[in-house]
Amino acid sequence: MSSVATGSAALPAASAGGRAGLAKSTVTVARRVLLRYRRTPQLIVLATVQMSLFFLIYRYMFGGAIQVAGMRYVDFLVPGFIATGVLFSGIGTATAMAEDLEQGFVDRLRSLPIPRSAVLAARALADTAIFTWSAAFTTAIAFAVGFRLHGTAAEGLAAFGLVVAFGFAFAWVFITLGLVAGTAQAAQGLGMIVFPFAFISSAYVPVESMPGWLQAFAEHQPLTAMVDAVRALTLGPDAETLLGHPTSYFVVRALAWTAAILAVAFPLAVARYRRG
């Protein structure tokens, strides 16, 4: 190992550099998250194939046993599966945030003269990008195994855009969970909270097929609103007949939920981060 040099090359003074603003800090920190994915084969493989694998299991194992009136199960499943994917990818966000906290990375960033929200915004944006990648890959697989859009391509893109927006909003929820959990293990435990939201929803089976008390929850929770909006956009002109309301109704309801989640989770995450 080389010895420690005592060379006196002057370091540029920090004050000469000015200040890293919100955008610059966010991009710099987000780049680290993305590089970590790109350079860690386990992570990138997991992000790429895990979601698709589970999708194929649903499509071919449960798909045969579930009947949905008026449509093929694959067309019912894909919007639900992709939209609820934001929750499962969120567990990764919570875990990574807690890990950064646990391993002192957050302390280092918080001791730097950068805006407090930059670190969280970086995490939210980078994780949304990673989720977008997983969702796009799974969507491609979905098309390969029989999923079809019944509306226009623009509606299909809008559906995908909605899913990305859900991902961004939920990222703040999971960042808060990660900050509260404090350790990666605890964050994973807290992540279990996603199961009732993912499964007691309109994602995998029609809500009408559930017992009444479950229907009450399923009907009124945000995931159902989001799944319904994505599904309506993929069904084209049949949406109103099959789902009971016009597509715009579902889209507005989903966007309202998205805005509400952001409005609550963003300040919570920042407050928790500031507290130290």
């Binding site: 190992m1 420690v4 920090a14 550099g17 710099t28 918080r110 001791s111």
Partner: protein
């Protein structure tokens, strides 16, 4: 010129326990100050408070003249923090890690590159600079972490147990790196549970226990403070430890320290006592085989014990 750190009556409670309980500490410019204390003494909480990461319940804390609560951004511009874990990104190269922190310090791309290269050079990591940090040894990772705290050219470096968990060789390399920085005029506040570390690196030691400063001074002052000398026996066979301890117990009953792993027995004696001769005689009579016998000044371990009533490196 304002003191580097000025803490007055600093308090912080977590739940029912006081991590900082009215701590006073002043670090003048040009000083390396070691905060020494057992686990749970409040060392880490204090460093995090200086780094603006803790909201204090009471007291004032100024860093380079800036109040940590009122002007946290000015404080953050003056400090570089290396915490207890090497907070470097394993999936980035050493150079990328440093450039990231330099960029966050406000450097443009060119200045960040230059600062990163200078720091790699200074810490002996120039050859490893383009390797991913996950291929680094523990010691190299720590040095990179030190580099990250340094790349913004801060006035004050905060090092929280910088060598915890390192093997002896990496530890000495890190000490060298810290000494080189100090020689170039960076002020340092470091915490440690290792007395030899404080003794080696710091010009001033503040002993902290239960969230309060119980003693402060240069290493020599602290050693003088408890006065007297130490008689130490290093026995050849572990079975001779009890009889050797019995022997020394006669010099000062109840004060004998036994360090079984190194087969050493020691006791503090008055400076004007009888010296070693009677001990040597008694050892001969008891037919105890010894490797070494010494009359010496107390080391900081013994100072710590005398001041706080508990050994320094004891895990809480």
């Amino acid at each position: 010129m304002a003191a580097t750190i000025e803490a007055r009556g600093v308090r912080k409670r977590y739940g029912g326990t006081a991590a900082l309980d009215g701590l006073d500490l002043v670090a003048e410019r040009g000083q390396v100050v070691a905060v020494l204390g057992p686990n749970g003494a409040g060392k880490t909480t204090f460093v995090r408070a200086v780094a603006t990461l803790v909201r204090l319940d009471a007291g004032t804390l100024r860093v380079a003249g800036h109040d940590v609560a009122k002007e946290p951004d000015a404080v953050r511009r003056s400090i570089g923090l290396a915490g207890q874990f090497a907070a470097v990104e394993p999936a980035m190269t050493g150079r990328e890690n440093l450039e990231m922190v330099a960029t966050l310090f406000g450097h443009d791309r060119r200045a960040a590159k230059r600062a990163a290269a200078a720091v790699l050079d200074r810490l002996g990591l120039a050859d490893a600079g383009d390797r991913l940090a996950r291929t680094y040894s523990g010691g190299m990772r720590r040095r990179l972490d030190l580099g990250a705290s340094l790349v913004g050219a801060p006035r004050l470096l905060l090092l929280d147990e910088p060598t915890a968990g390192l093997d002896p060789r990496s530890r000495i390399e890190l000490w060298d790196a810290i000494r080189a920085l100090v020689a170039q005029g960076t002020d340092v506040l470091l915490t440690t549970q290792y007395l030899d570390e404080a003794d080696h690196l710091a010009g001033r030691i503040v002993i902290v226990d239960h969230g309060r400063a119980v003693a402060a001074g240069t290493p020599d002052e602290l050693k003088r403070r408890i006065g007297g000398n130490v008689v130490e026996l290093h026995v050849r066979e572990a079975r001779d430890l009890p009889p050797a301890a019995e022997l020394l117990d006669r010099l000062r009953p109840g004060a004998v320290q036994i360090d079984a792993p190194t087969r050493r027995v020691s006791v503090r004696v008055d400076a004007d006592g009888d010296g070693l001769l009677p001990v040597v005689r008694a050892v001969q009579e008891a037919r105890i085989e010894i490797d070494d016998i010494a009359l010496r000044r107390p080391d900081l371990d013994e100072v710590f014990l005398a001041l706080t009533g508990q050994p320094a490196a004891q895990a809480a």
